[in-house]
């Protein structure tokens, strides 16, 4: 989850009130953010992904200030009108990155503090709201260096050149992707495009190549910058507007004036940013019912004001930077936060329901208890296993369910039977006391086109006995004891299995169904696992057996 850094002095000034450290800690976490650390002047907080509007010092302070009651209710931001700031969007971008939302903010008087703040907003929004620039990317430029109007277009990557931020020489589009560090990091986002998107000013100077990088000349804000041009580019106009709103309101809180721009999508003209509020009916009964409260409309309105909303008649006015209000239930949560989670009563309703274990789980437990009674120790292995351990070392070749993105080869497939896991346990315990008689109950996974997922999962029990005196009789004895305890009649007949010694492995049938193997592991397998003590064992498909009894 994204974190942001707050400068305590700046933060307190923005909030308009100083709190003691304990109070500050408490209020931050009860607002629905997580305090990571406070060290000296630096506060680090974690912001949940549904609140990108809190990913800046300004946005965070705005929410916090309302929450502690300093400045409650809807904040008003004015967007200055004009008709001269124009961005032309050419058709060429349709196939690469079809939309942009833009704004100008003036009078910022940037210093290092503010520049860091702007960089933080941009970075955090890129990562979270922008999904690492996949969904949207943001550019912020010094207006003084740019000649309006601006054109948003796309060109063949080798047909243009510019000096990228922190670059040493002018490069074309492909060179940026292959040579510039930022290009290499985000290059995959343009991989399949024959045209690369560009913002160009009316002098033909390239401002940036989104979502990768700005130009060094026209795309770098500094201490001399007063006015900035901001663009968000991406695929959904709604999200671009939201993102732009989050940025311009933060910059306005920094002391800037927001100016609108006219976006010319061919003949269609759009004005951004659009900071008009969204109105939603306040359903007092619904919210009271779901929260178990009995608040009057007025009180609920006051609580919502603590969360930065405006109230007009029976309507809630949702600020344009809030992106997370999809449903009345989202307002309910904000009412609960303002009310204070710590103030809710704990109540257990008098509802009669009957508890119960799953019958199969009870059966599993019984099997385990019987084996424990026979002196066996239960182990627990991962379901993910190394393909070589499962197949090659067991001298088998089974079709396995495989991961698309395994962490390592050691955990790349799902096991199709339990004995390989048990052999692995034996091989890791050769320095431990013998005999080692162990069992494991767990899921195994097989390919099966008839299942919804294409995978048939069943629960099995695997048992191995490892000691200098074990033989086929020992394992058959344990198997037989288990079957007798479960009152199951079975028959055994010789079979073949690549992991067992030929002539010392049996298939077990119950009511004509094959439900188990019993046998002695062959020395080739023991050699692969470096176990120098004989091993016998069995494996039962408990899911199948359960159906039969």
């Amino acid at each position: 989850m994204p974190t942001i850094n707050l400068n305590k002095n700046v933060f307190e000034k923005l909030v308009g009130k100083k709190l003691t450290l304990d109070k500050l800690k408490d209020r931050i976490s009860m607002l629905g953010t997580d305090l990571e650390s406070i060290e000296g002047n630096e506060i680090i907080v974690e912001v949940f992904p549904n609140r990108p509007d809190m990913l800046s010092e300004q946005g965070f302070a705005r929410a916090f200030s309302s929450f502690i009651g300093v400045e409650k209710g809807l904040r008003n931001y004015t967007v200055k009108k004009n008709n001269k700031y124009v961005v032309k969007i050419e058709d060429a971008v349709k196939k690469v990155r079809p939309y942009t939302a833009c704004a100008i903010v003036k009078g910022l008087k940037l210093d290092d503090e503010k520049i860091n703040g702007i960089i933080q907003i941009q970075e955090k929004l890129h990562v979270s709201f922008g999904r690492n620039r996949k969904k949207l990317a943001i550019g912020i430029y010094p207006l003084e260096e740019i000649k309006l109007p601006i054109t948003y277009t796309a060109k063949k990557p080798k047909s243009f050149k510019f000096l990228p931020l922190e670059g040493k020489k002018e490069m074309d589009g492909l060179q940026i992707l292959s040579q510039h560090p930022t290009g290499r990091e985000y290059g995959h986002l343009l991989e399949n495009s024959s045209m690369f998107p560009l913002f160009i000013d009316s002098d033909g100077a390239i401002l940036s190549m989104p979502p990768i990088i700005n130009s060094e000349k026209t795309g770098k804000i500094s201490g001399k910058t007063k006015d900035v041009f901001i663009e968000c580019s991406g695929f959904e106009l709604k999200e671009l507007n939201q993102c732009l709103n989050i940025i311009v309101t933060a910059l306005a809180d920094m002391g800037g004036d927001i100016h609108e721009m006219e976006l010319q999508y061919g003949k269609k003209k759009i004005i951004t940013p659009d900071l008009s509020v969204v109105e939603k009916e306040l359903d007092v009964d619904y919210i009271n019912k779901i929260l178990g409260l009995n608040l009057k409309e007025k009180k609920m309105g006051e609580l919502l004001e603590k969360m930065g909303y405006g109230i007009k008649a029976k309507k809630v006015l949702i600020p344009a930077y809030r992106t997370d209000i999809l449903h009345q239930i989202d307002l309910a949560e904000d009412v609960a936060i303002a009310y204070g989670y710590e103030n809710f009563k704990a109540e257990i309703p008098n509802v009669a329901t009957i508890g119960g274990e799953d019958n199969f789980e009870v059966f599993k437990s019984r099997v385990a208890d019987i084996l424990v009674g026979l002196g066996l120790i239960e182990t627990m292995s991962y379901h993910l296993i190394n393909e070589d351990v499962h197949n090659k070392k067991m001298c088998c070749d089974m079709d396995l369910v495989k991961l698309e993105n395994p962490l390592t080869n050691d955990y790349s497939v799902l096991r199709a039977w339990i004995v390989p896991s048990l052999m692995q346990v034996l091989s890791e315990n050769t320095n431990r006391e013998y005999p080692q008689n162990i069992f494991e109950i767990g899921s195994v996974f097989k390919l099966d086109g008839k299942k919804e997922t294409g995978v048939r999962e069943s629960i099995r029990v695997g048992v191995v006995l490892c000691g200098s005196n074990v033989d086929f009789t020992s394992t058959k004895q344990v198997f037989d004891a288990l079957m007798r305890a479960l009152n199951v009649e079975y028959n055994m007949r010789e079979t073949k299995h690549d992991s067992f010694i030929a002539g010392r492995v049996a298939r077990v049938g119950v009511d004509g169904k094959n439900i188990a193997y019993v046998g002695e592991i062959k020395p080739e397998v023991l050699g692969e696992f470096e176990v120098n003590v004989p091993v016998v064992g069995f494996e039962i498909n408990l899911s199948e057996l359960f159906k039969l009894i």
Binding site: M30, G32, D34, P49, R51, K134, E236, K238, I290, L291, G292, L293, L326, H327, I329, A332, E333, A336, I337, Y341, E342, F344, K345, A346, E347, I348, V351, A352, T353, I354, G355, D358, E361, A368, L371, G373, I377, E378, M380, S381, Y382, H383, V401, K402, L403, E404, N405, L407, L414, E428, N429, E433, I438, S443, L447, E452, T453, G454, V455, E457
Partner: protein
């Protein structure tokens, strides 16, 4: 204890070993002369030591052993000797010498070095290196070198007992490959105490008391009128192992009981799930980071699942896109069916809750369910992270449920888990609103510990599955942390290490 009763309590093994102590004090000698196995002698000595009859001593000693080449040379002779033998009568080139005496190239080179140093050979170049023996060499052939004498000794030899010339020979040989090796070995000896010396004076016989009571004695009545040897009942006995369940499953069993006590019914289900059930049915946006490759394990084969009946799929699709009839705006994007088909290893047991709600009949409400099972996250294994972990999950489907009930259930649940105090903070999960994070007060560490998330399922989750919008309270704390705390384990990897020593020694779950 007086000497008499001490002697009376001696076991047959002790009776055999004790008399030997008047002649021998090294462990090896005792083994050789007792006719017993090593382990039997050791056991007898330990018992005697417990009775303060003797003191066992262990000394670490540096000893010299023969290496692989050393053993070979003991049989065949040192290479330099064989080299000299080969050229005794005739000048030969190196190849011929090697062939005649089976010497490797490396050995030949060493021989030349050694023998030149002793002026035992002459070298001349004539169509290859030709070697001839000198008078010195002939003398060397007649007598045995220090090194040869050294190799004739019987190994192992205690290093500090070497005489000067033996030390010299050892130093020379140890410079060469694998002839002699020095090693540290344990030598055990026995020192008889004053009490022991007195005991030795007593007559110790093997057969005057009965040892083990046997079935045949009982049948024949031979035990009558005889004395049984008294045992040392305080003595430590070898530990035996019992069968037991894995400690994680012991904990799982107790958590199950808590759920059942609270009137919850168990739900179970598969670990391989479609993204549809794991994410889409839980209103998790298709571009949510949790659906990335680096967060979730996707199945490569079989990669895709079949979706459930079309009606449900259509409802979920519309809910994501526009909110359907849930009163929500939805995510406002185009829902992609292909993405929801992707198979994953379930990232939470919450997918089972979704399936349960989808199957629930309205007349069965209110209903409460729980699940306890393994879930998966694409996370590198380290001391605090596992890619497979246990989650426990509960849902309450009740038209009259509310947020206060959620807090009530949670407090009760964690109290039963052993945490008296719990507090709740706002949190965020895609499928619950309001959401909260649960902290419990750790009674020993005296601090708040985060134990998991909870909330009320969003209408966007419940309505498409159940057909109506009913509050569903849900919570799903991770379970491994509670297990770690109980067993005082710091490294989470220890949970599934399957070290038999650890499993055998683990205490029982008592909660």
């Amino acid at each position: 204890m007086d000497i008499k009763s001490l002697v009376a309590k001696l076991s047959p093994l002790e009776r055999k070993v004790l008399p030997l102590l008047s002649k021998f004090n090294s462990f090896d000698d005792l083994v050789d002369n007792s006719g017993l196995k090593e382990i039997e002698v050791m056991r007898a000595l330990q018992w005697l030591e417990n009775k303060k009859i003797l003191v066992l001593k262990e000394e670490l000693e540096e000893v010299v052993l023969l290496g692989k080449n050393g053993k070979d040379y003991v049989k065949k002779g040192l290479p330099e000797k064989r080299f000299l033998c080969a050229i005794k009568g005739d000048k030969l080139n190196l190849g011929e010498i090697g062939a005649k005496e089976e010497l490797s190239k490396e050995e030949l080179n060493i021989c030349i070095g050694v023998l030149k140093g002793k002026a035992a050979i002459n070298l001349s170049k004539d169509n290859g290196l030709i070697v001839s023996i000198t008078d010195n060499g002939k003398k060397l052939l007649e007598k045995e070198s220090l090194e040869e004498l050294f190799l004739k000794k019987s190994f192992p030899i205690v290093l500090k007992e070497l005489k000067d010339e033996e030390k010299f020979a050892f130093d020379n040989l140890s410079k060469r490959k694998d002839i002699v090796i020095s090693d540290v070995v344990k030598t055990r000896s026995v020192e008889v105490t004053k009490l022991g010396k007195e005991a030795l004076k007593k007559k110790i016989s093997v057969g005057d008391v009965l040892d083990k009571l046997t079935p045949s004695m009982l049948k024949t009545g031979k035990w009558k009128g005889k004395k049984f040897r008294a045992y040392d009942v305080e003595i430590n006995v070898p530990k035996i192992n019992r069968g037991k369940r894995h400690f994680v499953n012991q904990a799982v069993k107790s958590a199950r009981k808590i759920w059942m006590d609270m009137g919850f019914q168990e739900m179970t289900g598969d670990m391989v799930q479609s993204s549809f059930w794991n994410f889409d049915a839980l209103f998790t946006a298709q571009d949510h980071p949790v659906r990335d490759l680096h967060d979730t394990f996707f199945i490569g084969n079989p990669a895709n699942a079949k979706l459930p009946d079309l009606g449900l799929v259509e409802k979920i699709k519309k809910t994501h896109e526009t909110g359907w009839t849930t009163g929500s705006d939805g995510w406002g994007y185009k829902w992609v069916e292909e993405d929801s088909k992707k198979n994953v290893l379930r990232t939470h047991t919450t997918c089972l809750s979704a399936q349960t709600i989808a199957k629930l009949k309205k007349e069965d409400m209110p209903a409460k369910f729980f699940a306890l099972g393994k879930c998966f996250r694409n996370e590198t294994l380290d001391w605090s992270h596992l890619f497979e972990f246990n989650q426990t999950e509960g849902i309450v489907i009740d038209p009259n449920a509310n947020f206060s009930h959620l807090i009530g259930y949670l407090k009760e649940f964690f109290k039963k888990m052993g945490y008296e105090k719990a507090r709740f903070r706002p949190a965020y999960f895609p499928y619950t609103e309001p959401s909260l994070e649960i902290d419990v007060f750790h009674p020993v560490r005296k601090e708040w510990v985060e134990l998991g998330g909870a909330g009320i399922f969003r209408p966007e989750v419940v309505k498409p599955l159940l057909g109506i919008d009913v509050p569903v309270l849900a919570w799903g704390p991770g379970f491994d942390r509670i297990i770690l705390e109980f067993f005082k384990i710091n490294d989470i990897r220890e949970l599934y290490k399957n070290d038999l020593k650890q499993l055998r020694g683990m205490k029982e779950w008592m909660k």
